[in-house]
């Protein structure tokens, strides 16, 4: 039995259904990231877990106990908000200990807890200040301190890093990861940033329009996206989604990619997914991540199935650690990720290796994965 | 239904109060006499009652010539908290009596002989369906001229006996460079003056028919039209800034000699007294020309409410004291008005007061004591105010001709009836 279980959760505002039957579960000590574009319902889902919003139907269980009807304070959770939600009228110490005060914890115990958390987060020198006297990063730390001090069963983070600048965001991300590793708490974390999702999560739920599109480990989500939306949303640069057709090639199936003013590329498929044969002669969406489309020398050695084709390079983007090259396939710009020192010029043709082991196929009608 | 409701609340109140056995030795008095002279006059009554052991609980609400007080009274009655007595004017007493909230002082009236001593014209308002419901405090009369004697001497004027005399006198003043007529351009002042103009123009019979009986033919008549013409004539003698002026400022113009004459009720005398002026030497009081022998009156009354039993004794004491000869004399000497009973000796009154008392007696006996329409003693408030509207609009030019004024007057009074 999982630690956090969400069963068939629905949430309706009048006529509008915000959450359309969410099923998610998370093991103890896990780190669940809810990710999706704004308006997908991820924050609402978090709020229902916190008890800040009621649910229309379904059940939320923590540690085997249904908590849907409990007051937020009775759910044994702690929450870090996007704006940090520090009480402006209280000092840092007051902010951290407010929850304990509400539960009637004696003053000396509160002080001990404050000191402990302050040490962990290195905010001891800030305890007497008011939130308005703190920098963004400091506020973030205090907000986390307020959550940590409760030692709850479940931590909830609502886009906690989105108000920080890029550098600080990376630092805090690492900090959160370290905190998770050292304290072993269970965390549910909302973000719209797929990098945060990939780096922090043990489980990711990709959401759109009040539905979970895919639920799984970061690797599953990344390598086996369930549909075009997930494939497109996760990963940076995004997966190349190229309109293609499935052609027969005597022995087996082949992916046919149209090119401008040149004959199409035909990539033979060795271990095509079973469902693909039904699409013979029909259009599909061919998905390949930039790192699976590279120069033949840089191609993954142990990949079982690589096809190479000459491509016309339109743009070259050296990014330091890698070089990205843009070619045109199936009427779309397609990004290939080459080694940093790959020697290619825009306007020339060069062979590119397609790692077809990592390629995925989607039905353009349903947008679902063809398996 | 309202009546039932009010009586119901009164009963409830009296039931609750009947639990107390002892009488409440206190009178609660709503009034709007808050200025120095008026308060001093009323203090006489307070003192009289104190001598009999009754405390005076003052409920003064000034403003708008009693408007604010009447609003407060309506609220108090709606709440079922009746005062022992309230200062009231004319038809208001009858309205409250019709609503069944007034007390009954008939016994006291019989004992004190009020039926004989109080002029019949006043009893029309203080007696409702044979029951005494109010005690009249005074009689004001409004058809007075108040003249600055120094100015009068300077221009060589004599007492005007007719309207034409009056116009001639005003012309003299105009020629001498003083403002002939001091008028406050507020509707009640204009209408009060018009009361006198109508009495002067049409005579007592006409006034009664038009302004007390609201006789349609009289209201429409040429005499009424002539009255408006006369009013228009008078208005030509007014200074340009008269509009909106308070009556006491107009009186001050006469006192200072900026103006010759003011047409105003006898309360104006208080202003002369306050300025340490004496009648005969500093100022003159004449009847409005052509109205000698008649009195247009208004009267302050103390309406007596249907208070709980334990407060009735105090109420009787208040009513008795109010109509006692000594108080009537003392009060009215200060207030400038004349006693509400005709058997009070005039020894303490000044010349104007003495004349007022004599005039009242004569008018009462001769049947020429008429209620002032402008002051709410000629007709119910709806009509009186409609009348004031028309007069004021005529004075200020919204109504342009006397013909139109007569038409409007008839229409307005019909509408309000």
């Amino acid at each position: 039995m999982a630690f956090l279980e969400i069963d068939g959760l629905r949430k309706r505002f009048g006529q509008v259904e915000i959450l359309k039957g969410i099923d998610v579960e998370l093991e103890k000590g896990g780190f669940l990231v809810l990710v999706g574009p704004s308006g997908c319902g991820k924050s609402t889902l978090l709020n229902t877990i916190a008890g800040l919003e009621t649910i229309t139907s379904g059940e939320i269980r923590v540690d085997g106990r249904a908590i849907n009807d409990l007051h937020p304070s009775k759910r044994d959770i702690a929450m870090v908000f996007q704006s940090y939600a520090l009480y402006p009228n209280m000092t840092v110490a007051g902010n951290i200990s407010f929850g304990m005060e509400m539960r009637g914890v004696p003053a000396d115990e509160r002080q001990k807890a404050i000191d402990k958390v302050a040490k962990v987060l290195q905010i001891g020198h800030l305890l007497k200040r008011k939130p308005s006297q703190l920098s963004g990063g400091q506020r973030q730390r205090v907000a986390m301190g307020r959550a940590l001090v409760r030692d709850p069963k479940l931590f909830l983070f609502d886009e906690p890093l989105s108000n920080l600048d890029a550098k600080l965001r990376v630092d805090m991300r690492i900090e959160i990861k370290r905190l998770h590793a050292t304290t072993g708490t269970t965390i549910v974390y909302v973000t719209h940033d797929q990098i945060e999702a990939m780096t922090l999560a043990t489980k990711i739920a990709v959401m759109r329009d009040g539905e979970v599109q895919q639920f799984g480990t970061p690797a599953e989500i990344y390598n086996n996206p369930a549909n075009i939306f997930v494939a497109d949303f996760m990963g940076s640069p995004a997966m190349n989604l190229i309109p293609a057709t499935i052609g027969g090639n005597g022995s087996g199936l082949a992916v046919v990619l149209q090119r401008e003013a040149r004959e199409p590329i035909s990539l033979p498929m060795a271990n095509a997914p079973a469902g693909l044969s039904a699409f013979q002669g029909k259009p599909i969406i061919f998905g390949v991540r930039p790192e699976a489309l590279t120069d033949p020398e840089g191609a993954e050695r142990n990949a079982s199935h690589i096809a190479t084709a000459d491509c016309h390079i339109e743009v070259v983007e050296p990014a330091g650690s890698d070089t990205f090259a843009v070619t045109n396939l199936g009427g779309k710009g397609v990004v290939a990720r080459l080694r940093a020192d790959a020697n290619i010029q825009p306007g020339t043709s060069t062979p590119l290796a397609f790692n077809l082991t990592k390629a995925v196929f989607f039905d353009p009608a349903t947008e679902n994965r063809i398996r | 239904m309202l009546r039932k409701l009010l009586i119901g609340t009164a009963l409830a109140t009296s039931f609750v109060f009947s639990a107390h056995a002892a009488d409440v030795k206190e009178v609660q008095m709503l009034h709007w006499w808050t200025s120095g002279g008026e308060a001093a006059a009323l203090n006489v009554l307070k003192g009289d009652l104190a001598k009999e052991g009754y405390a005076w609980k003052d409920v003064p609400v000034a403003g708008g010539g009693g408007d604010a007080a009447m609003t407060a009274l309506k609220a108090m009655v709606a709440a079922g908290n009746y005062p022992t007595a309230s200062q009231m004017l004319g038809y208001t007493v009858l309205d409250y009596a019709a609503a069944g909230v007034m007390g009954d002082l008939t016994e006291t009236a019989k004992k004190e002989g009020w039926d004989k001593s109080v002029p019949a014209a006043l009893q029309k308002f203080s007696v409702y369906e044979g029951k005494w419901v109010a005690a009249p405090v005074n009689v004001h009369s409004v058809n007075w001229l108040w003249i600055n004697k120094a100015v009068m001497d300077k221009i060589g004027g004599t007492e005007p006996k007719t309207f034409d005399d009056f116009v001639a006198l005003l012309d003299k003043a105009k020629a001498a460079g003083v403002i002939p007529l001091a008028l406050g351009g507020q509707n009640w002042q204009e209408a009060t003056m018009f009361d006198s103009v109508v009495l002067s123009t049409g005579g007592p019979e006409f006034y009664k028919k038009a302004f007390n009986d609201l006789d349609d033919a009289s209201l429409k008549s040429d005499t009424m039209k002539k009255s408006f013409d006369n009013l228009a004539k008078l208005v030509t003698y007014v200074d340009p800034n008269f509009s909106g002026r308070d009556w006491n400022l107009a009186t001050a113009m006469v006192i200072k000699g900026d103006a010759l004459v003011q047409v105003m009720g006898d309360w104006a005398k208080g202003e002369f007294h306050a300025a340490k002026k004496t009648p005969g030497t500093d100022f003159l009081c004449y009847r409005f020309p052509g109205t000698d022998g008649s009195v247009i009156y208004n009267s302050d009354m103390f309406g007596m409410f249907n208070v709980p039993e334990d407060r009735k004794a105090a109420q009787v004491a208040l009513a008795t004291a109010t109509l006692s000869k000594s108080f009537q004399s003392a009060f009215n000497v200060v207030k400038g008005s004349v006693p509400a009973r005709t058997d009070v000796p005039d020894t303490d009154f000044d010349a104007c007061g003495k004349k007022g008392i004599a005039d009242l007696k004569k008018a009462n006996e001769g049947g020429t004591l008429f209620g002032s329409l402008a002051q709410g003693y000629g007709a119910p408030p709806a009509v009186a105010n409609a009348y004031k509207d028309v007069v004021s609009k005529f004075v200020h030019g919204q109504i342009k001709t006397s013909d139109e004024a007569v038409t409007e007057l008839v229409k307005a009074i019909d509408d309000a009836k």
Partner: protein
Amino acid sequence: MSAVATPARQASGGVNVKLVNRIVIYGLLALFALFYLMPLFVMLVTSFKTMDEIQNGNMLALPKAPTFDPWLKAWGETCVGLTCAGIKGYFWNSIKMVVPAVLISTMLGALNGYVLTKWRFRGATLVFGLMLFACFIPFQSVLLPMATILGSVGRFGVTLQNSIGTSFGLGNSTVNLVFVHVVYGIGFTTLFFRNYYEAFPTELVKAAQVDGASFFQIFRRIMLPNSMPIFVVTVIYQFTNIWNDFLFASAYAGTGDSMPMTVALNNVVNTSTGVVEYNVNMAAAMIAALPTLLVYVLAGRYFVRGLMAGAVKG
């Protein structure tokens, strides 16, 4: 914002243009200050004149022989009805009515604003709309029905008094006035607080909920301590309105022992057929207005700050 306006002027003209601009601005401000101060000036000079001087002199002229007598008379001697002890005694009546009325209506407004913004429910907007529209009812038209209800409540109070020995203040005219002002004040107080709390971060409330604070604890510990500006605005607004109310005060509390200042002042100022002492009236008026004037001058700074903080933002 003003900080950025200045460089623009510098850019578009030289020092002279800037100087002329400043002179024009200060000139206009001073001119308007004169316009606003004029009636106060008239009242002030009049209150130091003798009646003779008022009647014979110019109203804008300074007093030739300033006298404090009108002030002394207004304070301690002038007649309010038949009691001639000045208006000093009516301060207390007003204060004991105004203070509870202001506090209760403000607290209710704060609670309502809190519920309407942070605990939205179906129909909350309609409820607010209905309460806001209530601000517009003409008070003259509620005078009588309200009196009827207060009367019944008063009789119930007497019954209680007789049966259990206390009326709980029912029927007491000060209590009545407090009630009336609360009833007709919550529309505006709710408007002020709702607009303020609308911009108040909801996450703070959520955080407090997670921290285990109850409905009232959140209000007391989180909302109220952060509502100072709007509190000042509302209190000033309510204080002014209730202190200056005449209609309800005269209708429900005209009797001497609970008569508020406005009624007393009105009784001094508005005489029907008596001599008007303008100097005393003006002095009495200033004395009566002193608390509100003081509140405006002292709290004016917070007032603007409070309005700024959101009272007008919506």
